[in-house]
Structures are given as C-alpha cells and as structure tokens.
C-alpha cells in the first residue's frame, strides 16, 4: 500500500513536471512559429527564388532546350511514383529495376543530345538536373564496383584481399573534398597528352571511387550476415562458386544492406553540393552565383532556406522510397 501511494506520487510529480515542460516548449514553438511565419511572409524577399526558378532547375541549359532536362526529371519522378504505388501486374514490377537503370542513358542522352537532338555541352548542365545526374551516375557506377570490392575483400586469394582492403580503407580515410580535388585537378596529369575527360565526368569518376569504398563495406556487412549453411547447401546442390555468388550471396547481401545503401545514396545526393566549391554550377553552385549578382546581394536566408527545402524534399523522398522498397522485399521474402 505504501509502495502504491509512492508510485502514484511519483507518477503525479513526473506528470506535473512533464506538463509544465510541455507547456513551456509549446509556448516557445508557438512564438518561434509566429516569428518565422511573420518573416516568411512580410520580411523575406522571395524574388531571388521566384525569378530564377529555371536556373535552379536547369542551370544555363539553352532556353529552347530546357524541356529535355525537364522531361528527364519528370520521368524520374513518375517512375518513383510508380515504384511507390507498387503496381500489381507482375511483368510491370519485374521491369521496374530495368526501367530505373534505363533512366541513366536516357538522362545522358537528353542532356548531351545527339541522334537528332542538338548537342549541348556539359558546361551548360547545371542546377538540380546536374545534381541528380551526378548522384545517379555515380551511384550506378559505384554499386557494381562496390560489390566487386566487397567480394574482393572476402576473397580467398591473399593478393586480391589485400588490394581490396587497402583500397577500401584508404578511400575511407580521406575527406571527400580531397578526392574531388584529385578528380578535378590531378586526373588530367595522369592522362596522355591530347586526351581529355570532361569535367562533369571527372567529378562522377571521383564520386564513384569514393562512394564505392563505402558501399563495399555496407555490402560486406550484408555478406557476413548470410549464414554459412546456405553456401554449403548451395554447394551440395551442385552450384559452382560463380553461381553461388551470383544467385545466393549478392541478392541477399543487397537486401540486407539496403537501409545502409539508402543512407549512402542520400549522403551522395547531399555531397554533390561540394562541387560548388570546386567549380561546377550544380544546385548549391547556382545559389552561390546568384548571391553574387548585384540584384540579389545579401539575400542569404532566402536562398539557403529555399535550397535546404529542395535538398530536404529530395532526400526525404528518397528515404520514403527506400523504406517502401524494404517493406516490399521483406514481404516477398516471407512469401518464399
């Protein structure tokens, strides 16, 4: 009985304290909200955003060709929505991964032109479309490389194992900006005279080198989580090493590593902003260029808030998409 009253007392005092705290916090949030709203509507000058929306989206892409990056972004978004809804037709669901991979050549074709479309040099690529291109390209290249490195690190061949480990560990020890700096300024020194690699592709190359080391570690985690009995079972079924790796190990490792891989993708999307320091005019770069324009001088808060919301929206969208995918893969697993 004594214990009971003590418990009640404790709960009450906690509740009282909790209630006061909640009230205080709500008050602060409310004040902050009113203040922010007031600023957003009355003090802020959104011209720096509204007047330059096409620049944020397409950079200095020729005006009459802007439909091309627009079409690409729209096709990516609609594909995401289709993935989210999760079509019931089996053939449609089966072709989704292929469709995703196909968006990459489509994007490169739409941006660079050729085959009937006028050519647009990569210096005109910019804004959100460049940010997305950098992310998607690097990710799709880094994934196979990462799998390769992860398998290499688990390999029975000591040389392959050592080399993979050295690569992965040293890549993970250096800052991204140093790798990007290498990509922009030092790669040309390693190429034969007369051979040039475009600046955007050098950036993609550097991102790929960097991200693949992180992806490799995530996939290695996935590989290690697969019980050995499965490999033994597969071997007794008569599958060879390649078949085991290809049909048993990789699909499962990818599924297990999916949350970690999603984080890599989101991180990569954000990190493309580092190219603003190294001279590409991607989404953040456009913001910095506009802030140098005498017309918009000093409009930092507006530009930064706008850019932050764009990045936030895209990253959150990617996270939602991935969580959805995880769930579906989990369901499929139980079905099997």
């Amino acid at each position: 009985m004594i214990k009971f009253t003590r418990n009640i007392k404790r709960t009450l005092s906690i509740n009282l304290f909790n209630g006061l705290l909640t009230l205080a916090i709500l008050l602060i949030i409310g004040l902050g909200f009113i203040f922010t709203l007031n600023w957003l509507i009355f003090s802020a000058n959104w011209k720096v955003v509204t007047l330059n929306l096409p620049l944020y989206a397409f950079g200095s892409f020729p005006v009459d060709q802007r439909w091309r990056p627009a079409l690409w972004i729209i096709s990516l978004l609609s594909l995401s929505v289709i993935t989210l809804i999760g079509p019931n037709r089996k053939w449609l669901r089966k072709s989704l991964p292929l469709a995703w991979i196909a968006t990459l050549p489509l994007g490169i074709y739409l941006l660079s032109g050729g085959l009937g479309l006028p050519m647009v040099m990569s210096r005109h690529w910019g804004g959100l479309s460049l940010t997305i291109l950098l992310t998607e390209c690097s990710l799709l290249f880094a994934l196979p490389l990462g799998i390769f490195l992860a398998l290499g690190r688990q390999s029975e061949l000591p040389l392959v194992k050592t080399l993979s480990s050295i690569y992965i560990d040293s890549m993970r020890a250096v800052p991204l900006i140093a790798v990007l700096f290498f990509g922009q300024l030092l790669i040309p020194l390693f190429l034969p005279i007369g051979v040039e690699i475009d600046r955007v592709w050098r950036a993609i190359f550097a991102f790929t080198l960097f991200v693949s080391a992180y992806i490799a570690e995530d996939i290695r985690g996935g590989l290690q989580a697969i019980p050995n009995t499965q490999i033994e079972a597969a071997a007794t079924l008569g599958l060879n090493q390649f078949q085991i790796t290809h049909f048993i190990l990789i699909p499962q490792a990818l599924r297990i590593a999916l949350p970690a891989l999603t984080n890599q993708a989101i991180g990569l999307f954000q990190n493309t902003s580092l190219m603003a320091i190294l001279g590409l005019i991607e989404l953040l770069g456009i913001g910095r260029s506009l802030l140098a324009n005498p017309e918009f001088i000093g409009r930092y808060i507006e530009v930064y808030i706008w850019l932050a919301s764009v990045y936030w929206l895209f990253c959150t969208f990617m996270a939602v998409l991935a969580r959805h995918l995880e769930k579906r893969l989990a369901i499929q697993k139980t079905n099997i």
């Binding site: 916090i25 020890a173 250096v174 140093a178 020194l189 954000q270 902003s273 930092y300």
Partner: protein, 296 residues
C-alpha cells in the same frame, strides 16, 4: 601451377600495367610543364598572414610551418567539435528514447532537418546568416559572461572567431544528429528488463539511465561513435567555405602560390592519415578503458 596463383598473377599484372601507364603519363606531363617533384619549396617563406595561429607565426615563416599551423587549426576545431557533438548527440539520443513526447518530437524534427540537408549548406547558413547576420549588434544572453557578435564569441575571456564558431557549431550540430541515432540504438539494445529492474529498485529515471543503462549500452555505442568522429574529422575540411584556415584551406593557398599541386596533395593526404590515426587510437584507448571498467 594452381589456378589461384594464376588469377593472382593476372591481377598483379593488370595493376602493374595500369600503374606504369599512369606514372609514365605523369612523368611526361610533369617534364612537359617543367615541374619536377620536389619538396625544397617547403622551406621558403610563405609570405601570407593567417587569421588564427595556435603557435607563433609570421608571414616570413616557412610554408612548412604555415601548413603545420593549418594542421593544428584542423585539430583544434575537430577536437572541440568532437566534444560538443558528443554532448548534443547524447542529449538528443536520450530525449529521443525516454523523453517527454513534445521534446521527443522536437528532437525528431532536428534530426530529419539536419540529416536531410547538405552539411556545406548548413555551414554557410551558420556563418553567413547566424554569425555575420548579427551585423553590428552584439548579442549578450548572460551579461558579462558571454557575448556573441559577427566577430565571434567572447566567453569568460576566451575569444573564438566567428569562422571557428560557425564551423564548430555547424559540425557539432550536424554530427550530433548522427551521434544521437547511435546513442539511441545503443540504449535500445539494452534489454527492457534492465529498466524494470532499476525502477523497482527505486532509482530515478535519470539516475538509472546514467548508472545502469548507458554503461551497458557503451560497447554498442563506441564503434558507431568512432566512425562518426572520423566522419567529423573528414568533414572539417569544408572549413574553406566559411573562411577558417584549416589544413585544406592553407593547402589551397599554397598550391596557388607555388603551383606545387602534387606535392601539396601528398602533404594533405598524409596529414589526414595522421589525424585519422590519432582519432582511432584515442577511441581504441577509450574502448579498452570501458571494457576494463565493465569487467570490474
């Protein structure tokens, strides 16, 4: 010859070919531009001033000394962000797990805001909006103890430049959001029974959390913490965006003045390996201490 050995020789050869081509190209390109690799320029006077130097430095000191100042500046901001980020992370992590629901909601908003926007953008926000946005007004939350202006923070005689402060807050708030998730994961890994146990023993929530739960969560937390610390160190190179003279920023200046891109890049990489080594060894020691204390 065994199949395994053959594979390895093939790999070795391909690698050797690739390397020899790259090095060959490099030497051709270097000799063509008349730049031979050399480090003797490191001993020439740097002739640029620094805003912040932990040890005495003047523009007539050598490039090597200037680079060392950059390295110390990096170390300074990394270590202080590391401490602040840990505090933020632990606090938010605890609030997310056991706190008041409104507070928990706020913490969730903080985490999504910070994790879903680029760090570079956040740093620029801290510097150009939060600090420089103060213009000429001076903000004094506690009179006589702390004053914040666009020149930086004065705290009981300790003065921090606004560049350093922006980087410190930017990095700490960013890394804090990641550490919070690590801490939360660690706390959740401790079985629910432990909570019931200390409650029935009459421990208060806070007391029980720090005396019973967190010590048990530490082994799960420390590896995650180490990797976040290493990330923080790497991310500190974004200092260049807010005008703080870290190792990367000083390297940038040196490359511009001397044209020694490759040598400076090598120096940059080695200083990073050194920093990494320092942090991972430090964490190794901490790990050992916690493991030992657990045994006792």
């Amino acid at each position: 010859m065994s199949k395994k050995l053959t594979y390895q020789i093939v790999v070795l050869f391909l690698l050797a070919i690739l390397l020899s081509i790259l090095i060959n190209n490099l030497s051709i390109n270097l000799s063509r531009s008349g730049l031979q690799l050399s480090f003797s320029w490191l001993l020439r006077p740097a002739s640029f001033a620094l805003a912040e130097n932990p040890l005495p430095y003047s523009p007539s000191d050598t490039y090597a000394w200037a680079l060392f100042m950059g390295w110390l500046n990096s170390l300074k901001v990394i270590l202080s962000s590391l401490i602040l980020a840990t505090f933020i992370g632990v606090f938010i992590g605890i609030v997310r797990t056991v706190g008041n629901s409104v507070l928990g909601f706020l913490a969730a908003i903080y985490i999504t805001l910070i994790r879903q926007t680029p760090l570079l953008l956040q740093l620029m926000f801290w510097y150009f909006v939060a600090f420089l946005g103060l213009k000429d007004s001076i903000f004094m939350p506690i009179k006589g103890m702390i004053s914040i202006s666009n020149k930086g923070i004065e705290f009981l005689g300790l003065s921090l430049s606004s560049e350093f402060s922006a980087l410190l807050f930017g990095l700490s708030v960013f890394t804090g959001a990641y550490i919070a998730e690590v801490v939360r994961g660690g706390i959740l890994s401790v079985s629910r029974g432990q909570w019931e146990a200390f409650r029935s023993l009459g421990f208060s929530e806070i007391n029980g959390l720090f005396k019973i739960i967190i010590p048990q969560a530490l082994p799960a937390i420390i590896p995650g913490l180490t990797s976040q610390y290493l990330n923080l160190a790497k991310n500190s190179t974004l200092a260049i965006a807010v005008g703080y003279s870290d190792i990367y920023a000083i390297n940038d200046t040196v490359i511009n003045q001397t044209g020694r891109t490759i040598e400076s890049f090598i120096i940059l990489l080695s200083s990073f390996f050194l920093l990494n080594l320092l942090i991972s060894n430090l964490m190794e020691v901490i790990n050992k201490i916690t493991l030992n204390s657990k045994k006792i």
